[in-house]
């Protein structure tokens, strides 16, 4: 995977997690994985389509998921119910959306999919021939691992695209 796609995600994750949780975040050691990813309790999956294409996972354990969702929703949740699940999926959505804005500023226009949520430990997820770059992020509420399996798109948006001003207005 191309490392230039990494920083927009790390920056976006820092910004979003810091803004949402008010906590300090530290980055663990990067690693590149070729094989299958064995799921933790909760995994949010989103895809990118366009000049950058592939899949992004956000994985965490149940406790961290409940804590993050509680902070997001502003109420103390006890279990990973529907509300907590949608809170977690939304975190993935916001981070990915922000990262894709940063990617488009660098000339890689792409669209993100809706999030899907995988619940259950021990399943294997394969991105097939896309290697995954794994970034662990540690906060006081728990840790999140970001898995990036991205490539420069060979299909998808075929014409060069430019964002209209309204698409950039949210920046900052």
């Amino acid at each position: 995977m191309n490392v230039k796609f990494l920083n927009p995600f790390v920056e976006a994750a820092y910004e979003v997690l810091r803004a949402e949780t008010g906590m300090e975040i530290s980055r663990g050691e990067l690693r590149l994985e070729q094989g299958m990813y064995v799921t933790d309790d909760v995994t949010v999956i989103l895809s990118l389509v366009g000049a950058v294409e592939g899949t992004v996972f956000y994985s965490m354990n149940r406790l961290a998921a409940v804590r993050f969702a509680s902070i997001m929703m502003g109420e103390s949740l006890i279990e990973l119910d529907g509300l907590a699940q949608s809170g977690i999926a939304e975190i993935g959505n916001v981070i990915t959306g922000r990262a894709s804005m940063k990617l488009s500023e660098n000339g890689y226009e792409s669209n993100i999919s809706t999030p899907s949520l995988i619940l259950g430990k021990g399943a294997s997820i394969s991105t097939l021939d896309y290697p995954r770059l794994v970034v662990p992020l540690v906060t006081d509420a728990g840790s999140v691992e970001i898995h990036l399996a991205l490539r420069e798109g060979k299909r998808g948006l075929k014409t060069p695209q430019i964002a209209v001003p309204s698409a950039k207005a949210v920046n900052g």
Binding site: M36, T39, I45, L46, S47, L48, V49, G50, E53, G54, T55, Q85, S86, A89, E109, N111, I112, S113, T114, P115, S116, L117, I118, L119, G120, G122, A123, S124, I125, S126, T127, L128, D129, Y130, R155, G156, L157, T159, P160, Q161, I162, A163, V164, S166, A167
Partner: protein
């Protein structure tokens, strides 16, 4: 979910299964689910982005997966190894790609993501607030279950971007 998004997928699946695997397909009865999907052995997940957006999942058991790839790749498989996985993922990719061509003919432009393969029975996959239409497709090599959680994008997400004209490209 809008039912008009169902038929392109069913047609595409029937055509692809016939062409690639040489089987005839019988459609089982449709059902609509609000709750999370509980996986079978193998699930291929593909996202759609564009005027139709959401997620499509293809579920099957391992034996069916092995029989399908044996037909697709023309060689005997005894276990569900990485070649078999990529064969099954490609099947999902081809069906989804064909379905999006049908969508675009009907005026809904959308792109598909690369496939992700989830192995492991009994895991839950939630499409959150997207209800799922489930279509079982029976063949004599096994059953392929298609899960569709799709919506029409009325805001026209793709239209947030304007194509550059060739003249403006250099600037």
């Amino acid at each position: 979910m809008d039912v008009k998004f169902l038929n392109p997928f069913v047609e595409a699946a029937v055509e692809v299964l016939k062409a690639e695997i040489g089987v005839n397909v019988q459609r089982g009865s449709l059902s609509l689910h609000q709750s999370a999907l509980t996986t079978d052995d193998v699930t291929v997940l593909i996202h759609l982005v564009g005027q139709v957006y959401g997620v499509v999942m293809y579920g099957m058991n391992t034996e069916t997966g092995i029989r399908f790839v044996t037909q697709i790749l023309g060689q005997e498989f005894t276990e569900f190894d990485s070649l078999a996985q990529s064969g099954v993922a490609e099947l999902g990719n081809v069906i989804s790609g064909r379905a999006t061509i049908k969508f675009s003919q009907a005026g809904y432009a959308s792109n598909i993501s690369p496939p992700t393969l989830i192995s492991g029975k009994g895991i839950q996959i939630s499409t959150l607030d997207f209800p799922r239409i489930v279509v079982p497709l029976q063949t004599n090599l096994g059953e392929l279950t298609v899960h569709l959680a799709l919506r029409e994008n009325r805001n026209g997400k793709l239209e947030e971007f304007v194509a550059l004209t060739p003249a403006a490209k250099g600037s």
